[in-house]
């Protein structure tokens, strides 16, 4: 039976059918495109009552800043969040996928998700792709066994730590942690330390920048502080704005009026008993 010419929605997983053509183009001298990377500084630390995660908000495409305020702290479960560094599409796809798997698992077991479950699902996926799925993650959460913080490398190895940093700004942030971290920090001290570590990454690493996002997870509660600090506001904003003296020359105009959006709700008949 000949293969169907129609593109039926696939069952999932990667499809490799354009690889041969892309290889042929590369051999002819056309370089492959660069992907959106999150240069990044991401950090996590364990404090007295739980876990605090922090991230910067810059996304780069080569040397250009593509997104000045992206979200790098991804939701995994109500009590688990994950920061991602590396190729943006990979971190988003892998955290979305594991988040769905965790939800199905919660429905099956009727229990809250545990952080090591998310850890094992992530590391299995990343290891099976041998590092080609380029996602470096800091996973943190509080479950029934207590607060946990892990780092996951693109090849699938993991570490369990009291404080962790990843990304191109990890050295800048780690220096702040090594100097100032101590066990049993309070919530405010922890937030202040995380903000300081991210700022250190923002100001010293070229791949990180813009604002600081923070997520505080404690037993039974979480707080996502989006844009907790904005140390890089836009300077020199002109109040007048641009005024164009010479208008653009238009060759052709076509106006299509749109009908008002009408919602038809059919009132159905009740089913007979």
């Amino acid at each position: 039976m000949s293969q169907s010419a129609v593109d039926v929605p696939p069952k999932g997983g990667f499809s490799f059918d354009l690889c041969k053509r892309n290889d042929m183009l590369t051999q002819k001298g056309l370089k492959a495109p660069s992907f959106l990377k999150t240069g990044t500084t991401i950090v996590g630390l364990i404090f007295k009552d739980g876990v605090i995660l922090g991230a910067d908000t810059r996304a780069t495409e080569g040397p250009i800043v593509a997104d000045k305020n992206c979200e790098k702290i991804h939701y995994m479960a109500p009590n688990i969040y994950c920061c991602g560094a590396g190729t943006a599409a990979d971190t988003e796809a892998v955290t979305d996928m594991v988040s769905s798997q965790l939800r199905l698992h919660r429905y099956q077991t009727s229990r809250d998700s545990r952080v090591i479950t998310a850890l094992t699902l992530l590391k299995k996926h990343l290891f099976s792709y041998q590092g080609h799925v380029s996602a470096a993650l800091v996973l943190g959460g509080v479950d029934i066994t207590g607060p946990h913080l892990h780092t996951i490398y693109p090849h699938g190895s993991t570490d369990t730590l009291p404080f962790a940093t990843m990304g191109s700004g990890s050295l800048a942030a780690m220096s702040v942690f090594e100097a100032k971290y101590k066990e049993g920090l309070t919530r405010d001290e922890g937030i202040k330390l995380v903000a300081e570590a991210i700022c250190s990454g923002i100001f010293n690493d070229l791949g990180s920048g813009s604002n600081v996002d923070i997520c505080v997870i404690t037993k039974g509660n979480k707080e996502y502080l989006r844009n907790y600090m904005e140390p890089n506001p836009r300077t020199y904003v002109s109040s007048k704005g641009y005024s164009f003296t010479k208008k653009t020359e238009v060759l052709l105009t076509k106006i299509t009026p749109l009908l008002e959006r009408v919602e038809i709700t059919e009132v159905g008949e009740a089913m007979e008993e």
Binding site: F16, L18, N22, F35, D67, A89, H132
Partner: protein
């Protein structure tokens, strides 16, 4: 030379007050030779949703056909149009599926969601979504477009002013890029009408 510089392209989308504008250049080239000056890069998915694709022209057309197919299936099943956010997730999934042998194009999606709230987003060639509240750019002229839009954009512009701003940003950016240009194609969409305008630019 990069694969994106084979055909040349420039696409930009901007948000206004209850409206959005999406614009592209019109050149289709094979490296440095111009083949066509009326190439359609922006396509309508439904009345309130447009997608502009920059990059390799063959993938632009193939991807557009695949997306229209998926949207028509959705319309048959759900009996309504797709919301822009849903469509963006669909495009992202289709692109990520080909993570290790990607479609060599970068989409710019612009639509009006519920309550006529404008939505724009762009993606890299493997589906990493980038939502923005002001403008998104894509194509070989993207670096100039970033600069021009950053300078010219103002929040909450009405349709007329938005059209002028996006046209000036597009034309001034493609003037600094050899591989894109030869005029512009702008769509300004408000809840009541779609205005499609073709711009005269430098023909070099």
């Amino acid at each position: 030379m990069s694969i994106f510089e084979y055909n040349g392209s420039a696409v930009v989308a901007m948000v206004g007050k209850n409206c959005f504008a999406i614009a592209s250049d019109r050149r289709l080239g094979v490296q440095l030779q111009t083949i066509a000056t009326d190439f359609q890069r922006i396509s309508k998915i439904h009345d309130h949703l447009f997608i502009g694709l920059s990059g390799l022209a063959t993938d632009v057309q193939t991807l557009y056909q695949r997306l229209v197919f998926r949207h028509k299936l959705y319309q048959l099943r759900e009996e309504r149009d797709m919301k822009p956010e849903t469509f963006a997730s669909l495009v992202s999934a289709i692109l990520y599926e080909k993570r290790f042998g990607p479609y060599l194009c970068q989409p710019v999606i612009a639509g009006l969601g519920d309550d006529n709230k404008p939505f724009i987003c762009t993606m890299d060639s493997i589906g990493a979504k980038e939502l923005a509240k002001d403008f998104v750019v894509s194509g070989t002229a993207s670096e100039s477009l970033y600069g021009a839009c950053e300078a010219m954009f103002k929040p909450d512009m009405e349709a007329e002013e938005l059209f002028e701003t996006i046209s000036q940003a597009l034309l001034s950016s493609v003037d600094r890029d050899c591989l894109s240009g030869w005029g512009g194609h702008v769509y300004v969409v408000t809840p009541d009408e779609i205005k499609e305008k073709i711009l005269k630019g430098r023909m070099d």
